[in-house]
């Protein structure tokens, strides 16, 4: 079986869906960040594949930028998480409900 573009795209979509489910289901902030990383990396897979398909480097460039951004997101995200954990001793999402309505 030849693995073609469509397979990559399907994989990417499935990964993205997994990421989405994770985003919705996770109550732990850290795991939530993982889920968002999955989202971005799902896209990266697709970008790399499409880039290869077109023989065009733009997609790969995009993927690199996404990786960079994902990295900085993690940095910022973890920073926030740590502060929050220091203050509350918990990284449970349900604790984040002082503001509503």
């Amino acid at each position: 079986m030849e693995i073609g573009l469509n397979h990559y795209l399907v994989l990417s979509t499935i990964l993205f869906a997994i990421g989405l489910v994770g985003v919705m289901r996770r109550k732990n902030l850290l795991l939530l960040f993982f889920a968002t990383e999955i989202l971005l990396n799902a896209v990266n897979v697709a970008f790399a594949a499409i880039s290869h398909y077109y023989g065009d480097l733009t997609g790969q460039m995009f993927a690199f930028f996404v990786i960079a951004i994902a990295a900085s997101e993690v940095a910022v995200g973890l920073g926030l998480l740590i502060v929050w954990y220091k203050r509350h001793g918990s990284i449970d999402l349900d604790a984040l409900t002082t503001m509503k309505g």
């Binding site: 999402l93 984040l96 509503k100 309505g101």
Partner: protein
């Protein structure tokens, strides 16, 4: 002559304003005197105008200034003194002079003396505008003006609930009629393009009968209110709450005859529509007997006279409706004299009896009130139409006119009413002045009125006696303008029989009244006698239950519906809808704010849900676009 016209018109206004200056201060005798003098001035000026008219026969027409002018509408303050209006002016100024002087005595002890004269003079001014105006709009000014003054004077003793109630009733009922009048005026304007009498009448013969009929009807509705014709008659009897001079001037001699004046003034219109005329005559005849019947049993001196006024107005309308405008006008004049006299006499009695109104509680007053007795007897004779007093000439002519026009039913009704009139008039006279001195039970010490009041009444007394001699001069004066014809029964014998027959009939009625009420057996009724419990008596005594009907079926429902409109419709429906819409918006916000739960997980779910929503929509559209051809085929197969 214009000078006299303005003097006649504005002297009462000056008097009114002068008195009004002192309205809130304690009694000042000079307000009465100045007011009376100014009214007398007006009377003198009117007399000058009358002489001028008699001499030249030329109407005086002045236009003082523009009132309203817009579009094609032009309404000036214009005044005309012609044979009709000068007659009215004479009547108005004469009676009001008498009443003013009389009122100085009558209102002697009233703390609102000054205010009374302000109102009374204002009334005269309004009445003068009414009769002197040369157009319908001006007439309407006077029309409403007299209504206003009538309101102020009926409710003069405003601390009395009954007085203020009666004042409002009079005003509102007149307003109902005024609406008709207003519509009539609109009809005149839009069909003739003007409201000036002469111009409008000139165009009217060219209009179609239907329009003219409506015009006539609506104007007559106005007249019905002011002249208290059925079914707008109830206010007049209630208006007797006002001071007696007011009753004499406004509710007997002048204002209530304004309706007759209107019909007479519009004679050129009404002669084009005889059907409406016949209706007016029939209504007049009906009111004549209807009112007279209520007067038969009433136990309120002033109300009896008020019903008599009503009845006499019926006569006038009967005459006017039959086209005998000059007769109507003549009866109006004669009636003004003797009815004012009657009322003023009644005022004397009231004064003497400390405002007691029930004639059954009087009796035998002729000993202490000789002059009043004489005056009221003569006035009653005139009212009853006994030769040679004023009423004979005017009322008999109406009967003749009805007969000559072959309206025998009307004739019959009017004739019978003449008998009733004689009966209730003398029932009153008998009860007051003859028989047992029943007032003594109530510890009252009656006295005769001031001498100057009696002297003031004397012109009316004289006129009530001799007004008949004016019939021929009056006829020749108005002949031209009213297109008048003398009514002669063709056969002299018939005429004579009628004349004598009528006199005998009336005389018998008078005698019967005396026999029944001048004897010593008359007691103050206590509601136990058989006659008082008879159906007819009750019906008449309760004025055919018409006031009751109005109260129960118009006034009360109106109040209830008003209440309903406010509390239910306005508050619960209209306003609640507005608040409801606002409430829905606010409530939706309040309910759906739960969506903002503050929980990050939920927030993320919302985002994903939004994306899924967008995507599913995209898929649907994408598929629809992709398979649009197939869908079209499918739909066409379904017949869409």
């Amino acid at each position: 002559m214009e000078k006299y016209l303005y003097i006649a018109l504005f002297a009462p206004l000056v008097g009114s304003l002068f008195s009004a200056l002192f309205a809130a201060t304690p009694k000042k005798l000079f307000t009465g005197i100045v007011g009376s003098l100014l009214i007398f001035t007006s009377f003198v000026a009117s007399t000058m105008l009358l002489l001028y008219i008699l001499k030249t026969g030329e109407p005086i027409h002045v236009t003082m200034m523009t009132w309203m002018e817009t579009g094609d509408l032009y309404i000036p303050f214009g005044f005309v003194v012609d044979q009709i209006s000068v007659t009215m002016m004479m009547v108005v100024t004469l009676v009001s002079t008498v009443v003013h002087v009389y009122a100085i005595g009558y209102m002697d002890h009233d703390k609102s003396f000054n205010r009374f004269f302000a109102w009374l003079s204002a009334f005269v001014f309004s009445m003068m505008i009414l009769v002197m105006s040369d157009n319908y709009a001006g007439l309407f000014i006077g029309w409403e003006g007299v209504g206003l003054c009538s309101w102020g004077l009926i409710g003069f003793w405003y601390h009395k609930e009954s007085a203020t109630w009666a004042a409002n009733e009079a005003f509102i009922m007149n307003r109902i009629a005024d609406l008709g009048m207003l519509i009539g005026i609109f009809l005149v304007y839009w069909n003739t393009g003007t409201l000036q009498y002469d111009e409008a009448f000139a165009v009217m013969p060219g209009l179609d009968t239907a329009t003219l009929t409506w015009m006539g009807i609506f104007l007559f509705i106005g007249a019905m209110g002011k002249s208290a014709q059925f079914p707008l008659h109830t206010w007049l009897a209630d208006a007797m709450e006002g001071p007696t001079p007011v009753s004499a001037l406004i509710h007997a001699a002048t204002m209530v005859t304004a309706g007759v004046y209107l019909v007479v003034r519009s004679n050129e219109l009404y002669s084009l529509i005889p059907n409406v005329g016949l209706f007016i005559a029939s209504l007049g005849a009906f009111v004549a007997i209807f009112a007279a019947s209520m007067a038969l049993v009433n136990r309120d001196m002033k109300r009896i006279i008020a019903y008599s006024t009503l009845s006499q107005l019926g006569y006038m309308f009967a005459a006017a409706g039959l086209g005998a405008y000059w007769v109507a006008l003549f009866h109006l004049m004669a009636h003004a004299f003797f009815k004012a006299l009657l009322f003023l006499g009644a005022g004397n009695v009231m004064h003497a009896m400390h405002d007691e109104l029930d004639p059954f509680k009087m009796g035998g007053l002729k000993k202490v009130m000789k002059w009043t007795w004489i005056m009221m007897t003569i006035a009653s004779l005139a009212l009853a139409g006994i030769f040679p007093f004023a009423g004979f000439f005017s009322k008999d002519t109406i009967l003749e006119a009805a007969f000559a026009e072959h309206h025998f039913v009307i004739y019959g009704v009017l004739l019978f009413t003449a008998g009733l009139t004689a009966f209730y008039s003398f029932r009153l006279v008998a009860l007051i002045f003859h028989g047992e001195e029943r007032y003594k039970i109530f510890g009252i010490h009656p006295h005769e009125a001031y001498r100057f009041m009696l002297i003031a009444m004397s012109p009316l007394l004289i006129l009530a006696m001799i007004a008949g001699i004016f019939k021929e001069p009056f006829f020749s004066m108005v002949e031209e303008i009213l297109g008048a014809a003398e009514y002669h029964i063709h056969s002299h014998a018939t005429a004579l029989i009628m004349l004598v027959g009528t006199q005998i009939f009336v005389a018998l009625a008078i005698l019967y009244a005396y026999k029944k009420y001048a004897n010593k057996k008359v007691m103050v009724p206590d509601g136990t006698s058989a006659i008082e419990n008879s159906f007819i008596y009750k019906l008449l005594f309760n004025q055919y239950y018409i006031p009751y009907f109005y109260e129960e079926y118009i006034v009360k429902p109106y109040r209830e519906i008003s209440e309903l409109f406010w509390t239910k419709v306005d508050m619960k429906i209209v306003d609640a809808t507005v608040d409801g819409i606002a409430g829905i918006v606010y409530g939706t916000g309040e309910k759906t704010r739960q969506m903002q739960s503050g929980n990050l997980s939920t927030m993320l779910k919302w985002m994903v849900a939004g994306l899924v929503g967008l995507l599913s929509l995209a898929v649907v559209f994408g598929l629809a676009a992709r398979y649009s051809d197939e869908i079209l085929v499918f739909l066409s197969a379904l017949g869409v």
